[in-house]
């Protein structure tokens, strides 16, 4: 086939640059609206499917959703709970945005979260003598490093052995979860009680709370910080420039002198580190010890959170809060309207399906393999 050159009519130098100086110009709002429309439509479609299910099962959708809204945002405490659930989602989603933009499919955030939680717990149990100023960062750092190593492992397997990261990260998820189960029933089991859980971490290892009297802890601010940092990394730093180039066109990256293999491993480590941090904040901020099932699937929800935000970490803050609200609201919906909270999985799944149907991911998500 001969080269086909798309020949797009040349635009005359326009006065658009003038328009741009006016913030919130109609044009800007229009672009923003166009960007937001598909995710919003996807959410609407999902809520509709949820409503149909509710109606069919004999509940009043209007009432159930009302209770859900109330449960997610209705009070200071409910809002705090929503943000608490959003915290790991934002952390994981920001990291995954980096990975997905770099063209690597990290499905393993769940396992990386577990790896982080294990390391954070170990740090919190062993270094009891240290003051909070040192111990809290140490615990978080341990979680982050452990997650980064767990994620980097999949990156290494891809770069060195050509192993599909989609398959290896799924496998590493199970290995981490099973290993955690072994640790809390075996070597790390608490001394007293002998329930399958570790001892509590030191008081000094616990994250300070920020919104009295709720449980909202500093991890939420940390998550916002990580989202911002991921945004800066991706779109404002030279490293991010390299990663995005790798994600869009490995050939162009090689041409630009970028080490593609290293880029893939770094982005796996970054996304793993963010997920590990999520594990650490769960332990140090909420549970204070390790259990068998420390995550109710945050690692998988995080994938949806990142994709729905078009792999933009700033957008992840909002989709993370949205998914946090869905989870948190659904719990209250179950308590007060007796609607099974599993409904929220259906809603989340349908959000993804309709977003996929609307082509939200087609442009920005690089295909991991090319012919």
């Amino acid at each position: 086939m001969e080269t086909v050159e798309p020949e797009i009519a040349q635009k005359p130098p326009s006065r658009r640059s003038d328009l741009k100086k006016i913030s919130f110009s109609p044009r800007y709002l229009f672009t923003l609206g166009r960007k937001m429309a598909p995710p919003v439509a996807a959410l609407a479609a999902a809520l509709l499917v949820g409503a149909i299910l509710l109606y069919a099962a004999g509940y009043s959708p209007w009432y159930a959703y009302g209770v859900m809204w109330e449960g997610a945002f209705g009070s200071r405490n409910n809002l705090a709970e929503t943000l608490l659930k959003a915290t790991p989602l934002i952390l994981i989603g920001s990291g995954l945005a980096v990975a997905f933009r770099s063209g690597i499919w990290n499905i393993g955030a769940e396992g990386q979260l577990y790896a982080g939680a294990v390391a954070a717990t170990l740090a919190g149990i062993f270094f009891t003598g240290l003051p909070a100023m040192i111990l809290v960062p140490l615990v978080l750092l341990a979680g982050m490093l452990s997650g980064a190593i767990w994620g980097g492992l999949a990156g290494f397997l891809k770069v060195r052995f050509g192993a599909s990261e989609i398959v290896t990260t799924i496998m590493l998820n199970f290995i981490a979860i099973i290993a955690t189960s072994y640790l809390v029933t075996g070597p790390m089991i608490e001394e007293v009680g002998k329930f399958p859980q570790t001892a509590q971490i030191a008081d000094a290892a616990r994250l300070p709370r920020i919104l009295f009297p709720t449980r909202l802890h500093i991890g939420f601010l940390l998550a916002m910080g990580v989202a911002l940092a991921s945004y800066l990394l991706l779109f404002k730093s030279s490293r991010g420039y390299a990663l995005r180039t790798v994600g869009i066109s490995p050939d162009a990256a090689r041409y630009a002198g970028i080490n593609v293999g290293a880029g893939l491993m770094i982005s796996m480590a970054i996304s793993g580190g963010a997920a590990g941090l999520a594990g650490a904040t769960e332990v140090a901020g909420l549970t204070f010890r390790l259990y068998q099932e420390i995550s109710p699937g945050y690692g998988f929800d995080g994938i949806a959170v990142a994709l729905l935000a078009n792999n933009n970490p700033i957008g992840v803050i909002f989709t993370g809060i949205l998914f946090g609200a869905l989870r948190s609201g659904s719990e209250v919906m179950q308590m007060n309207a007796q609607v099974p909270s599993v409904l929220v999985s259906v809603i989340q799944g349908v959000v993804l399906l309709s977003a996929a149907a609307l082509g939200v991911f087609r442009i920005t998500v690089a295909e991991s393999r090319k012919e």
Binding site: S23, L32, S75, N77, L79, S181, G193, P196, P296, E331
Partner: protein
Amino acid sequence: MKSKIWQLTSTLLGSFLLLVLAGGCSGGSEKEINAGVFKVGLLSPGPVNGQGWTQIAYEALLKIEKELGAQISYVEVEQSPALFERAFRDYASQGYQMVLGHGFEFQDAALTVAKDFPNTYFFISSSKIREGNVIGVDSDSSEAFYLMGVVAALMGKAAGLVGGVEIPPITNAFIGFTNGVRSIDPDFPISTTYLGSWTDAAAAKEAAFSMIAEGADFIIPDADAAGSGVYQALNETGPGYWSFGIYNDYTSQAPNNMIGNYFNDYGQGLVNLARMVKDGNFDIQTNVEFGLKDEDVIWVKFVEGRVPVDVQESVETARQGIIDSKINTLSPIR
């Protein structure tokens, strides 16, 4: 590019702030509905209609509703400890007088929340704690399992125990069984398998099959929903292999194999407690532990015509011994 991004960021952050403010404002109007209604909440660690452990609590809740006219509610917190505290707090702040956390894992969260809600009773299943208004409620399965052990040692050749996950309620029950067996025959073989799951009935079924192949003729599950896999295995194998229904009447699942049922009407026990709470005369100072002494809560009933009279007599002797505290079903093995 830069200005576009800042516009985006500021728009989004602005709308977010609005959201926070809205939430914060309505935070002042937290509702306190407490007028006269007796309200009981349940935190279930799994699907309430899962069979076995989680179902017990749900049925107890329904019984409280029926017998005491309470307003009830439950929430499934799906094994995520991070969410427990929130659920306790939600119930307590809505004026629930009694909240049951159905499992040891709820203990930490209840202790934290209880300080802020002195007027709510927090009951924690399979816990032995008693700190202020946090009260551990345990039904000691080891006593009933002791009796099963006696039956197995007197009537069978070898026993197999299929546990869900290796946690104290299960291991304690199995210790009771072993002590019961040892009281009759110190050399009676017992093998134990844990599934690592409460739902994998297929695995339980295979575990039972393998025990049968090894020569066991008494196979008893303590594995929640997965446990019915054991009954299915026995049913398929045919007569001559025995089991007990655990917590409920499971005779229909293996009509030819069920020698008896261990009933644990935890609900009745909780109704007893709830009545005290409702009437405002809860005066137990320690943790609560149901045992064979609470005859309307825990009892073992044999299937008609399956257990010889002499065995029944031995069992009755053991039961009396346990009630009179002459037998310690949890004494360490060897």
